[in-house]
């Protein structure tokens, strides 16, 4: 029999990055509240950036998020270069794409194995899995470590990369480094194959809600992550400079929540959005995995974002191998290695301007925008984070989901809701912008 009364409050949802609450309230069969609240202490990054040199922006904004530090770095650098009128070389773009592949792999694997899988295997965290699924846990940690070591070689470290700066890299990997990295990626393939096997055995909850999916799109045949226009499954296409028209941040009168919408009441970003927009551009093995899972665009089951993350992991591993093989054929030009701080010696032309960075990071499209004065000092900064583009969509999902699962126990409903939120892989520390702080005290 279906429930008429429901009172779910999950304070500080676990196994997500940052602090968020789920609050659902139903009285006499009427859904009164269905909220995903963000209660992270605001950190005011955009405010703090004012008065800092645009050359420092990447170092500071990387600290918005430890998980997607490389993604913030790349979006920040793109915005700064756009403002300064610096055009990166083909070699720099190649290495940045490689860095973004590593970022996707690292973050997706963390989410699939350590944050999402425990729910699908019926345990509270990866800790019990150390005993019950030791080889699985070891594989996850091993793959994660490999991504991490690759980042160590490429940019000094994964959490807050060191050598990626405006203009290029302060240190370029040597010939030996390239070979070591390629060996490591090849060495990861058996673990990736085992991950695919595992994912095929997992059963994701069935639930569908049609929505608009937003991400980078491009005219070439590469799955766009670093460079592109902004596109949507409802047929929108805009230049990255128009990102504000995409996000359309607005305030909901009844809840004071700032949200994003484009063609409908909400939209979604992330692995599933990218898959829905660009699946035909995936590399062959990733395409085969999508087919084995049965994932086809347009997929509207948000739980399958985790499956899309797996497909992207397969793609990124192969893409990273392609880049390194290309570098092996066409060695790097080490003359491009940069000295940091040349701006302080006024050796880099600086101008007053504004720039936008739009980069796909693990959780979806990320926008950074800076306005600088004639000395390259930031006057205004704006960062729009994937998670706050998703928050509205998560709540609409919850509102549709709850009435469909009222036959379940309250505990099961709670778990379904937690898994739904986790499937979006929210990154709440990132949400410098979020305004959803309405508390319900009963």
């Amino acid at each position: 029999m279906n429930k008429k009364e429901l009172n779910i409050e999950v304070r500080y949802l676990t196994r997500v990055e940052g602090h968020g609450n789920i609050v659902v309230n139903m009285k006499e069969g009427k859904l009164e509240t269905c909220h995903f609240e963000v209660v992270e202490s605001p950190r005011f990054f955009e405010g703090m950036l004012r008065g800092r040199s645009v050359f420092e922006a990447q170092h500071i904004t990387s600290r918005i998020c430890g998980i997607c530090a490389c993604g913030h770095t790349l979006a920040s650098i793109q915005a700064a270069e756009d403002a300064l009128g610096i055009v990166p070389t083909a070699q720099t773009i190649k290495l940045r794409k490689f860095l973004l592949d590593l970022e996707m792999l690292d973050s997706h694997l963390l989410h699939i194995y350590l944050l999402a899988a425990p729910d699908l295997l019926g345990v509270k965290s990866f800790v019990p899995l150390i005993a019950s699924h030791n080889e699985v846990v070891r594989r996850a940690l091993r793959m994660k470590k490999t991504c991490n070591t690759l980042c160590d070689i490429l940019v000094g470290r994964h959490v807050h990369p060191i050598s990626a700066i405006v203009g290029g890299f302060t240190k370029l990997p040597g010939t030996k480094d390239i070979n070591v990295m390629l060996d490591m990626l090849h060495g990861m393939i058996p673990d990736m194959d085992a991950t695919i096997e595992l994912a095929l055995s997992l059963k994701f909850p069935e639930f569908e809600r049609d929505t608009e999916y937003v991400g980078l799109v491009s005219d070439d045949d590469e799955y766009p992550m670093l460079i592109g226009d902004i596109g949507s499954t409802d047929g929108v296409r805009m230049r990255k400079e128009d990102y504000r028209k995409v996000a359309n941040e607005f305030i909901v009168p009844h809840s004071s929540a700032k949200r994003a919408k484009l063609s409908r009441e909400s939209y979604a970003v992330g692995a599933l959005a990218r898959f829905n927009l660009n699946s035909e551009k995936l590399l062959p093995k990733a395409k085969a995995v999508a087919e084995a899972i049965g994932l086809k665009p347009k997929c509207i089951n948000p739980y399958l974002n985790t499956a899309a993350q797996l497909i992207e992991s397969v793609h990124c591993l192969d893409h990273a191998v392609c880049i390194l093989e290309d570098i092996r054929r066409n060695p790097l030009n080490y003359q491009e290695e940069l000295v940091v701080g040349l701006n302080e010696q006024h050796l880099i032309p600086v101008r007053a301007g504004s720039g936008v960075g739009a980069v796909e990071v693990p959780r979806g499209i990320l926008f950074h925008s800076y306005q600088t004065d004639e000395n390259g000092v930031i006057m205004n900064a704006d960062c729009i984070i994937p998670t706050n583009q998703n928050t509205g969509n998560i709540e609409y999902d919850m509102t549709k989901l709850v009435p469909e699962i009222l036959h379940k126990t309250e505990k099961e409903i709670t778990l379904d809701l937690e898994m739904l939120v986790r499937a979006y892989d929210p990154c709440i520390s990132c949400s410098t912008h979020l305004l959803d702080v309405q508390f319900i005290n009963r």
Partner: protein
């Protein structure tokens, strides 16, 4: 030996220092086998309602709720470790202190700024006593393991109180000043193995200042390379702004 009950908590931060633990790879299983992790919101759903032998705290204290929460954690923890720059020195969150709080709130949140009470950013030891410090943005895992070993043995851990330059020389890096670039290595605590300079960048001072910096020497270097004090102070404020609030609780 009974395994100590360890909990990991986060305040205002990017959670990257926690991630450094997961980034240890399979080695993390050795660490986990030496301790009993009872609460870790980012990675686990398990909760604990008793005393903690060790509480590892990441992040800065930036509002009154956080101050109350850290005091409660302190009451329940036999040993408290401040973990990462945000916790040990305030870190990048401290840059907020350079602004009027009302100004920065309304800049970021506009008319809705009333929903976001905030206070001056403080490091953890500026609110409650701290037993061990793991510096860095992010923490340097070999140092974290050393601290953890010291905690488990009940002995002190001494953070190096000499400049990053000592390690940088050992790593045979060309001095950034010789490349005409201002670097905070000369005034920053070592212990990171000059991580950033090894990778071609400068030291940003994320581990906090040495207790007795060679001010005279630093002034000589600045004048030799024609670098303004203003620029150096501006660089220091990226991580070390909270120093102004006083080091002692």
């Amino acid at each position: 030996m009974k395994k100590p009950n360890v909990a990991i908590f986060d305040f205002a931060c990017c959670e990257g220092c926690q991630l450094q633990i997961a980034n240890m790879g399979e080695d993390v299983l050795d660490v986990i086998s030496a301790i009993n992790i009872v609460e870790w919101r980012e990675a686990m759903s398990e909760k604990w309602d008793k005393l903690f032998d060790v509480a590892i705290v990441e992040g800065s204290i930036t509002d009154s709720h956080a101050a109350e929460r850290i005091k409660k954690i302190r009451e329940r923890a036999k040993v408290l470790i401040a973990y990462g720059s945000c916790a040990t020195i305030g870190g990048v969150n401290g840059m907020k202190n350079a602004f009027e709080l009302e100004d920065i709130r309304s800049y970021v949140y506009g008319d809705s700024s009333g929903y976001f009470p905030t206070e001056m950013t403080r490091a953890v030891h500026q609110v409650v006593p701290v037993d061990y410090f793991v510096y860095g943005c992010p923490v340097y895992i070999p140092e974290f393991v050393s601290v953890l070993k010291a905690v488990l043995q009940g002995i002190p851990y001494y953070v190096p109180d000499y400049a990053v330059c000592v390690e940088c020389r050992m790593n045979e890096n060309v001095c950034m000043y010789d490349r005409k670039v201002a670097c905070l290595g000369p005034v920053t605590k070592a212990g990171c193995n000059s991580w950033c300079i090894n990778n071609g960048n400068i030291c940003y001072g994320c581990r906090g200042m040495v207790s007795n910096p060679n001010e005279k020497g630093a002034r000589e270097v600045l004048s030799k390379y024609n670098i303004s004090m203003e620029m150096i102070v501006n660089k220091m404020n990226m991580y070390n702004k909270c120093r102004e609030l006083g080091q002692d609780e």
